[in-house]
Assembly symmetry: C2
């Protein structure tokens, strides 16, 4: 992360914060049972970009004064949102029958679905327990609302699998719920815990939600275009599992007959080259990419002024990275 930071003091604060978050994450999950600790150690290997905890910390620092240290509640919320995210990864891998995650084997592949289901539950439970340690009922209430919404998004997505009539509006409704609300809450709560105004908090939340939507579209594009070794997980998995991604929805909406069928056949045959060609011909890949970029631009325009030096530039840069990433 550090290479692009504009301000050494800010970079140091974030690096120190993320180190505290990792320690808190690990100590929260520590069990007296080696069998449980082994599983949690495996999950910690899934940790990648730490996007959500980074957003909590940067959003917190953005509304602090230079040199002011973040209160402990930021670390708690940062570790909590990451733990919620890890729980969704573990359960998503069960749903997707995924074998690979971040270049390593998934828990369900190594240890069976039963263990993966229960490990995900252990992570969810610990996320709520950790959040309760902040002693602020409003935080529990808000994060409970976020995870309710997240699960609704997943359930609606499951209920619409293989449904070629799924339109863009419904797609964005699902994505807002299953991905964007947690990213939005990361920005919102980071700012709120640093004393940002109601308007600033609302704008930080909107910024985070837009980042979350763009992040999901980029995930959709990586599922289609990514190089398996770089992405670190199987590609075309979303489409094979009947999850319609934005390029596919755009393709279905804009084509008919043989052109439309070419993409569906390519999924069936697991032929990424033919699929990419069909979606490029209909302009759907370019369309989805343009949509992600325009959402990021909108997010950046809506970002409120911040108190601390350089933190706004960093948030703008994080926004750009969401659509520039290849993993």
């Amino acid at each position: 992360m550090t290479k692009a930071f504009l301000d050494t003091a800010l970079a140091a604060d974030i690096a120190a914060g993320l180190a505290r978050v990792e320690t808190l994450f690990e100590s929260q999950l520590a069990s007296e049972f080696p069998a449980v600790n082994d599983l949690c150690a495996h999950v910690e290997r899934y940790r990648g970009k730490m996007l959500r905890p980074t957003l909590v910390l940067v959003s917190g620092l953005a509304f602090s004064r230079d040199g002011e240290r973040l209160p402990h509640a930021h670390d708690i919320i940062a570790a909590t949102v990451e733990m919620i995210h890890m729980a969704t990864l573990v359960h998503d891998d069960v749903l997707d029958e995924a074998e690979i995650r971040r270049r390593g084997e998934t828990v369900n592949f190594l240890r069976g679905n039963e263990t993966a289901v229960m490990l995900g539950d252990y992570l969810i439970s610990n996320a709520f327990h950790l959040c309760s340690r902040a002693g602020d009922p409003a935080l529990n209430l808000r994060l409970g609302e976020v995870t309710n919404t997240l699960c609704e998004g997943e359930l609606v997505q499951l209920s619409r699998r293989h449904d070629l009539a799924l339109d863009e509006n419904t797609y964005f409704e699902i994505v807002r719920r299953k991905t964007a609300v947690l990213v939005g809450a990361s920005c919102e709560l980071g700012a709120k815990l640093s004393g940002a105004s109601a308007d600033e908090v609302a704008r930080m939340r909107a910024f985070g939600e837009q980042l979350g939507v763009a992040f999901q579209i980029q995930d959709d594009l990586l599922d289609l275009l990514g190089d398996e070794a770089t992405v670190g997980k199987s590609i075309l998995r979303d489409l094979e599992k009947g999850k319609l991604t934005l390029p596919m929805i755009m393709h279905i909406a804009s084509t008919k007959g043989a052109e439309r069928a070419a993409a569906l056949d390519a999924i069936e045959r697991r032929d990424p080259t033919a699929l990419r060609a069909a979606l490029a011909r209909s302009g759907s890949i370019q369309g989805a990419r343009a949509r992600a970029v325009s959402i990021v631009e909108e997010a950046k325009r809506g970002l409120p002024a911040t108190r601390r030096t350089h933190s706004r530039e960093l948030l703008l840069e994080l926004a750009d990275r969401v659509v520039a990433r290849d993993a």
Copy 2:
């Protein structure tokens, strides 16, 4: 429930409380998405004895004055513990590949494992959100601790599947975690929210945990001896899935050679008659039953004096029912 109540006013209070809990349970889960509501309606059919919410209410009334109405927090906690319990049923059915629950088809059987995993998550999330609505961070912290422990119990049990060396001590450690802590917390929090003393709260928790352990042993016996139509779910499922139950652990510890193998072969062949015969010969069925009864007797002896008329008799009667039930 009412037939055995000794006191009409108490019976009326509990019936009214359970009706409020059901309403709260349903309104908490209500979603704007019909797909989500359909699934929740299915889960509500699993609701059976309402043991945990009943214990919250009776434990609350036990430390209230006659005629005093329970505060809303009791209803919230009663609905929360039931929702946690429902979440464990939905995920347990995935783990057990169960097809039948309370005489109806399971969510995983009807709608697939993916939907059952996500529906369980929706229930867990809503349980924490509902609990947060009480506005008391100590409740969130305590219930988070309870569900952490519960998941640890399940994970340890999974890690010891098919392990014939599992001893009684480990069995009781697992059962305390996966079943007893939630029942214990139901009694503990009910009493605590009514202003019981620290000693009374601790004794109510111990009472509940002992009931929970006895409840699990009775479940083990029903898995072995139950009539499928009465129990409402497949029997021998625990043993087939490699979960050692108390009668089986006692059998393995007290037999060797052909006598020991007879039981293992009977599980393999799905022959309940031969299995029951082997376990009866080794005294393991009688042994497990005696153990459950003695735990209930110990629980009853430790029950503290209560403030409200007749509530203590009702708690004693609920304890007896735990080991008398056939479903």
